[in-house]
Symmetry: none
Subunit: 136 residues, 4 copies
């Protein structure tokens, strides 16, 4: 299944609405299971770096099916070489704010938020998922 | 003035709704006056190349303040060197589907659509502008 | 549907076998519907440029659902601006050798071959499709 | 000697078969002694980041003639500057899953696998080598 345009748009709008309620400014992206950009929304004044961070958080979550906030702990069980190497890979983001989109056990994409703290970003991503009936 | 997130989202959704009414599948992007991505929406199955073409049409329209459909005629008044050089610049798109976003005479960004014919793409971009009370 | 690894591998091997029968050396690539590389095979001594040309032919065919050999004629019905602009887009290849992979009317990817003439390349791509029961 | 197309294809297929027996999904790449992609195969659903990681592991192994799993220990004998610098070089991968392809003492390429743990990835790469009569 591919996420449809209205659902993807509803998700990014819900993330932005949640950010507004928190008093922060974010960028938020949804990518499909192939990693292609499906939806994006930017609040004026959100950090410039956060445009790509949001997109790459979504990409990382879609790629591995893991919330990006869990990578730091997950990497503790790997060798030093992996721990130091993975974080340098292009488009990898290993901190919070990206959540996989899973439907009936199948990875259908990812959503990524950047602009606040890791916890705020993940809460905004979660609000995006909730708005379209998905759980993280 | 900077286009706000809800307006940018309304615009890309209106473009997608217009594309659906035409029976085509598009990607649509809005960039702000700084050229940064403000909103994006992809209809599943739209051409893959059109992701970046939509973004670059929006960028080109925001950059020069000219509908991208007018570039071909405009270039006839330039030297061969400009005519052949401009079209090779990264992120320049010289065919229809990108419209500047102008408010009270001030360029505030651009919207770009890719997925149909030039005329269809521009009509979708126009639908996006109209939805938020802007004229092209 | 996503093309499975064995089918993708069978396809590129059949293309290479056909190339060998023609006495040419090719590179051949399969990408999935999201444009991600699914399979690749290179005959030693095939042109170096052809590595990326093969991959981008597959990408272009998957993107638009059109044999890349049909683009030149198709572009005659577009404006000069589109005709000159599309061919300059990153990863666009507008000459023969790329075929879409379609199953039950649904685009599931593309196959691209580079190394011989356009006709030879397309014949090799066709051999790849035939080997896995797809028609172009 | 250059690895021929059938051998390269046999190698990536054997890696995929081994991955299937382990219940994991991988991407696997073979590059020749010139660092050019010779064969690639992706199992649907394998991590997106792993496409390039597999290719770069193969490249790194072909480049230095060392299993990528041995780099971390090898770097301990270098200066801090080298240790910190090498891992930042484009296309360098310093963790397990890449093996050089050596025949009669001559480096003829590399194979790289990404998608499982370092040990699983290296076992899959090893299965690829074994299938074509090479030792790591």
């Amino acid at each position: 299944r591919v996420i449809d345009a209205v659902a993807a748009s509803d998700a990014v709008r819900a993330s932005v609405a949640h950010a507004a309620s928190l008093g922060i400014r974010i960028n938020v992206a949804v990518v499909d299971s192939g990693g292609n950009l499906a939806a994006f929304l930017r609040m004026p004044g959100a950090f410039l770096h956060s445009i790509d961070i949001a997109i790459d958080k979504a990409y990382t979550a879609a790629s591995f099916g893991l919330p990006t906030s869990q990578w730091h702990a997950a990497l503790q069980q790997h060798s030093d070489a992996v721990r130091e190497g993975i974080v340098r890979r292009p488009r990898f983001v290993g901190f919070g704010g990206g959540l996989p989109m899973v439907e009936n056990g199948q990875r259908i994409g990812g959503i990524g938020v950047s602009g606040g703290s890791e916890e705020q970003d993940e809460a905004c991503a979660q609000a995006g998922l909730s708005a379209i009936g998905l759980k993280s």
